[in-house]
């Protein structure tokens, strides 16, 4: 009998349950290793070599190198663990959270100062809120310099 997972229809949200945790064990433990200064230095010196010491999937390694946190989460990462990568890069929690929305850092910060993202339209997949799949990525999408 399948387990009860009523949270699978929440848009823009991956619940870190036992199944995700199992998929992401090596990825998250790699993140934990970055709590030591010497490991941060080794990772920064050669990211790929450091990642190859961990029994992670190729997809997980590439998602880390690309700093694609949404992809990391889909592959079993958890934000509290992934935050160690952000700390290694000198990023705040707000910068990390914002990076998953497609908004610029300023756009995301302004949204928070304005009271945060509304829950209206964002409770269930199929509604029309700004976190729904058909409205990604968010933000004004100013082209990057040189792009």
């Amino acid at each position: 009998m399948p387990l009860d997972k009523p949270y699978l229809d929440v848009p823009g949200t991956t619940i870190f349950d036992a199944e995700q945790s199992r998929k992401g064990y090596a990825l998250n433990q790699f993140c934990m290793s970055l709590m030591k200064a010497e490991n941060r230095a080794r990772f920064k010196a050669d990211e790929r070599a450091y990642l190859d010491e961990w029994p992670m999937t190729e997809d997980q390694k590439q998602a880390v190198v690309a700093r694609d946190l949404n992809r990391c989460i889909a592959l079993g990462g958890n934000i509290y663990f992934l935050a160690k990568i952000g700390a290694t890069d000198g990023k705040s929690f707000q910068q990390m959270a914002g990076s998953m929305t497609g908004m610029t850092e300023t756009e995301y910060r302004d949204m928070m100062v304005g009271g945060g993202r509304s829950v209206e339209g964002n409770r269930k997949i199929g509604e029309d809120g700004d976190a729904q799949a058909h409205r990604q990525p968010q933000g004004r999408q100013v082209p990057k310099e040189g792009a």
Partner: protein, 296 residues
Amino acid sequence: MARITASVYTSHVPAIGAAIDLGKTDEPYWQPLFKGFEFSKQWMQAHRPDVIFLVYNDHATAFSLDMIPTFAIGTADRYKPADEGWGPRPVPDVIGHPELASHIAQSVIQDDFDLTIVNKMDVDHGLTVPLSLMCGQPPQSDFAWPCPVIPFAVNVVQYPVPSGRRCFELGKAIRKAVESYDEPLNVQIWGTGGMSHQLQGPRAGLINREFDNMFLDRLIADPAGLATLPHIDYVRDAGSEGIELVMWLIARGAMSDVPRGASADVAGGAPPTLRHRFYHVPASNTAVGHLILENN
């Protein structure tokens, strides 16, 4: 006997700790938030407890995915502020209360709550930010928190986390444990985390004032009813990390208007006095809520 005199509830956002540590509390962004805790710091000075039983969650700091205890009680003499990747917070070590902590562990486990006992761990912002908010930064001349603290860590990182009902029942068992301790200690119980926030995915940044204020209203006046709220309601309405709010129900279940222990051996007394209530958006990604309830 020991007694729980009051409960305190507050969010524990890491950026609040950084704002305190970097001297940014007077900046326009932070000033309204810290103003909401001015009363609390005065109240803390006037109502200094002998021990704080501090319910919080570890954020992939002391507990990696190697071991994931649902409920963990700290029975150590002392706990170091953790390096969460930005360096340890410049705050004092947390002094424990091993005797009372072991007593509570013994009593609560006998009441069918299977706690993990922890004799060595570092404590992260989940524990130290509430202490900073309520006590202020300890001066260098007397670099210590005002009293011993028993850390009580709840898994709210990996689902399924304990239900609101389970947390509320646990609070009842903790009160019974405290009240069976012989020494006449004045104990406060703090519930921390929340309020609405989501740190991941395209829905990051979710805030829900209506839900948060409903939660505060019901935590004060209808905690047993609030404890029946299923996880999915927190996730949908308060964001994936808003689930931390179940920890507030542990502290609320330990108050004396609630029947005591699993067998309700002492009936519920008078409702607590609401001493302070505060709500502010945002602190970084999070809505900040805060209550002080005194037992009568």
